[in-house]
């Protein structure tokens, strides 16, 4: 770095200059905004080294298993700063998401020591944790010898942080005092509305505020639009159909997947309120959903919104975020919080959390923790959120950052407000238990049968509850 640029960045790190002034003055020296961000982060990273021995594991090499994702891209873009800070080296394998979890499961099930840390979803740790494949990270988080004072664990959004902690007892709530911290949140998705503002304006639609309005608006969009459908939601025979919009709305009515009574789990999806909710959901898909809804996964829902085939989606906010660039409808998309229940105070989105976990078979656990600590720390998260697509960041300090908020406000209308309104109620709404994937996939299959008129909603839910109870009993959970 040239001396003048270096002086400017150090002045900023010392608090003698605002970020805006820094970028402007670096710009005058011919440094682009993107490069300025990386330079700035490099200095901030060096500042980290002042009150913690980041060099303790210098010379060690760790190996990561990563999913191909914008969060990974953000980390790789900033990895040289980690190498400089710690003197460690990092190698990694990146696999496409379609095969990623097979690879993770194979490595862990075989007890392979090849990878020290890896990306995972929080749901997956409900299998990995009790199987003894991953470490409880509390032992590192709570050790001041191993975790720097600037890590600020409490800065992680509470609902997100707690959703990654479970005590391993089926049916126990997430994030209890005795919970194991199976993984560290890295980036997360809430489920809300992403809609095509151009279409809404042309047809004269208002953003719906509850499930009844959503059904009505979706129907009007379909009727008023040119060959489009009203609402995009997932429909494939997979657990992933249940966890986004569907479960977020379901939880907003105070409904649960399972209930715990006297230490036994029971199906809770056949209550009267649940049946009414399912009826409305099925009606919405029949009236205004995609014609091939039963095949829709994350990809189809997103692609149709970006291509202008659907008026809105009730799905992951970052799915709508990604569709607002490089697509036919780029620049036309907007975002809104969504509380399905008209009597609810605020949305209660179920969330997906891309997290970092540590393999129990790792031979380099302390160095691996140094990486996890840095990658989920405030500096890298801020860098990723400002410069890359580490969205949604999991730290409150990043959501409070004016530059990050401004960036979102400029290009993603309504996104910041949507997050602010939804974040307090955002958490994993499923009951943690070992049959999660099987039972939730069966729930999706039942939903398909209801939409296809193969079974009435009430009867379908009763059958589902019966089957769930039987499976829970088979494994001794009921």
């Amino acid at each position: 770095m040239y001396e003048r640029e270096k002086d400017l960045v150090q002045a900023f790190v010392r608090g003698q200059m605002s970020r805006r002034s820094l970028i402007r003055r670096l710009g005058a020296l011919g440094v682009t905004a993107g490069t300025a961000g990386i330079l700035l982060n490099s200095s901030a990273t060096r500042a980290l080294a002042q009150d913690f021995d980041w060099q303790r594991h210098a010379g060690t090499t760790i190996r990561l298993l990563l999913n191909q994702h914008p969060y990974t891209d953000a980390m790789i873009a900033n990895l040289d700063n980690f190498r400089e800070l710690t003197g460690m080296d990092v190698t990694y394998d990146v696999f496409a998401e379609d095969v990623y979890f097979e690879r993770v499961t194979a490595a862990l099930a075989a007890g392979s020591s090849e990878y020290d840390a890896f990306m995972t979803g929080a749901y997956m740790t409900w299998t990995y944790g009790p199987a003894g494949w991953i470490e409880d990270l509390n032992q590192w988080i709570n050790d001041p010898e191993k975790t720097g004072p600037q890590y600020n664990w409490e800065d992680m959004l509470e609902g997100v942080r707690k959703s990654c902690a479970w005590n391993g007892q089926p049916g126990a709530p997430l994030g209890t005092e005795d919970a194991y911290q199976w993984c560290i949140p890295w980036g997360y998705e809430q489920n809300n509305l992403s809609y095509n503002r151009r279409m809404f304006d042309e047809i004269g639609l208002d953003v719906p505020g509850n499930l009844d309005e959503l059904i009505e608006t979706a129907a009007k969009a379909k009727a008023g639009g040119d060959g489009i459908y009203g609402i995009g939601v997932r429909g494939s025979r997979s657990w992933a159909t249940i966890h986004p919009g569907f479960l977020s709305g379901y939880a907003n009515y105070g409904q649960q997947d399972l209930s715990m009574e006297n230490g036994a789990l029971s199906a809770a999806m056949n209550t009267d309120v649940s049946k009414e909710y399912h009826r409305k959901w099925v009606q919405m898909i029949k009236e205004s959903g995609a014609p091939d809804w039963a095949t829709h996964t994350w990809y189809q829902v997103g692609i149709d919104l970006g291509a202008g085939r659907s008026a809105m989606i009730y799905d992951a906010d970052i799915l709508g975020y990604f569709q607002n660039g490089g697509t036919a409808e780029a620049g036309n998309l907007a975002y809104a919080p969504f509380a399905a229940n008209p009597e609810a105070d605020a949305p209660t989105p179920n969330i997906w959390i891309w997290s970092l976990a540590m393999s129990r078979f790792s031979q380099r656990k302390d160095p691996a923790w140094y990486f996890i600590q840095w990658a989920s720390g405030p500096e890298h998260t801020l860098f990723g959120a400002r410069q890359m697509d580490l969205v949604n960041p999991v730290r409150q300090s990043v959501w409070d950052d004016p530059d990050f908020r401004q960036r979102l406000e400029n290009s993603y209308p309504g996104y910041v407000e949507m997050h602010d309104v939804s974040a307090p109620g955002a958490s994993i709404k499923f009951t943690p238990q070992p049959l999660f994937f099987d039972l939730t996939t069966e729930w999706a299959a039942t939903l398909q049968r209801m939409v296809a008129d193969e079974v009435p909603v009430d009867e379908g839910l009763d059958q589902l509850a019966e089957s769930v109870n039987r499976q829970l009993a088979d494994v001794g959970l009921r």
């Binding site: 099930a109 994350w298 490089g326």
Partner: protein, 285 residues
């Protein structure tokens, strides 16, 4: 003598055209997609009129893909090389091991021969994951994890039984008297094997080799579980275009065109042997 009437000839032509159209249309459509951007591919309604671009092939060859979410590094050419290397080396090794074994099973009746042959065939029955998980541990212990040699060895689970059982059938079809006559003329058994049995079973060996190559090329799970990202074949590598921020349909189509090209070329070249070889082995005299 041509007994077909003009009407019959026309109807037959139409029927053949329809069948070709039906089977070739997906490949033709993928070929067209490979010259389009994502935006033109996704337009409603789809159209075959578009401004062609070679950007997809360019991205594959250069390894850099520009997406809405930024620049994506792709290793497709590396994946293509891996597929080519793994499939070729595996088939070559399987031929070296499998042909003499097939000959032995066909000609030499020894105790346990059927059991051994069936054991080798049974490798094809086991669910791959069941075999692979223990292999991960063993391979790590003996230093074969994440190596081409380790993968080629595991690929024998696909190639060796196929070659052994198909080629065995061909050797059995060759009358033993021919070989006996050659032996009586004073030749050693290995010379007989080399000069008589091998040439006669040539079409069958070519067919078995080609089939084994196609099976190895299409394999997905072995490298996924046993090797790191830089040793993955095209079957895994092509999934890199399906990302959280969107699906790169154009690049997928270009990748398909490039990845089927070697197998297509090989099948086209060897189709005469394939048909001849397979039909020879199918009928026992």
């Amino acid at each position: 003598m041509d007994t077909m009437s003009p009407l019959e000839r026309v109807l037959r032509g139409i029927a053949i055209t329809l069948v070709i159209l039906f089977f070739m249309f997906p490949i033709f459509w993928i070929f067209l997609m490979s010259f389009q951007t994502n935006e033109t591919i996704l337009r409603v309604p789809p159209s075959i009129v578009f401004e062609p671009t070679i950007a997809n092939y360019q991205a594959l060859l250069t390894g850099r893909l520009e997406t809405a979410a930024g620049t994506l590094e792709i290793r497709f050419m590396r994946n293509l090389f891996n597929s080519l290397f793994l499939s070729t080396a595996s088939v070559a090794l399987a031929l070296v091991l499998g042909i003499p074994a097939a000959y032995a099973f066909a000609r030499l009746k020894f105790r346990g021969s059927e059991e051994i042959a069936f054991t080798l065939l049974s490798f094809r029955f086991a669910p791959p994951l069941l075999v692979l998980l223990p292999l991960v541990i063993y391979f790590q212990q003996i230093g074969l994890a994440n190596t081409y040699i380790g993968l080629i060895w595991v690929y024998q689970l696909i190639c060796l039984p196929l070659i052994l059982w198909i080629v065995r059938g061909y050797f059995e079809d060759i009358p033993a008297d021919i070989e006996h006559a050659y032996r009586i003329a004073g030749h050693r058994w290995f010379t007989t094997f080399r000069k008589v049995a091998l040439p006669l079973a040539g079409p069958g060996i070519a067919a078995a080799g080609l089939l084994a190559f196609i099976f190895a090329w299409n394999n997905f799970i072995f490298a996924l579980v046993l090797a790191s990202a830089d040793k993955q074949p095209v079957t895994v590598g092509a999934l890199a275009f399906v990302t959280a921020s969107g699906i790169q349909f154009g690049q997928i189509a270009a990748a398909i065109v490039l990845s089927i090209a070697p197998v297509f070329a090989l099948a086209l070249y060897a189709q005469r042997y394939l048909v001849e070889g397979l039909s020879l082995g199918a009928v026992k005299g």
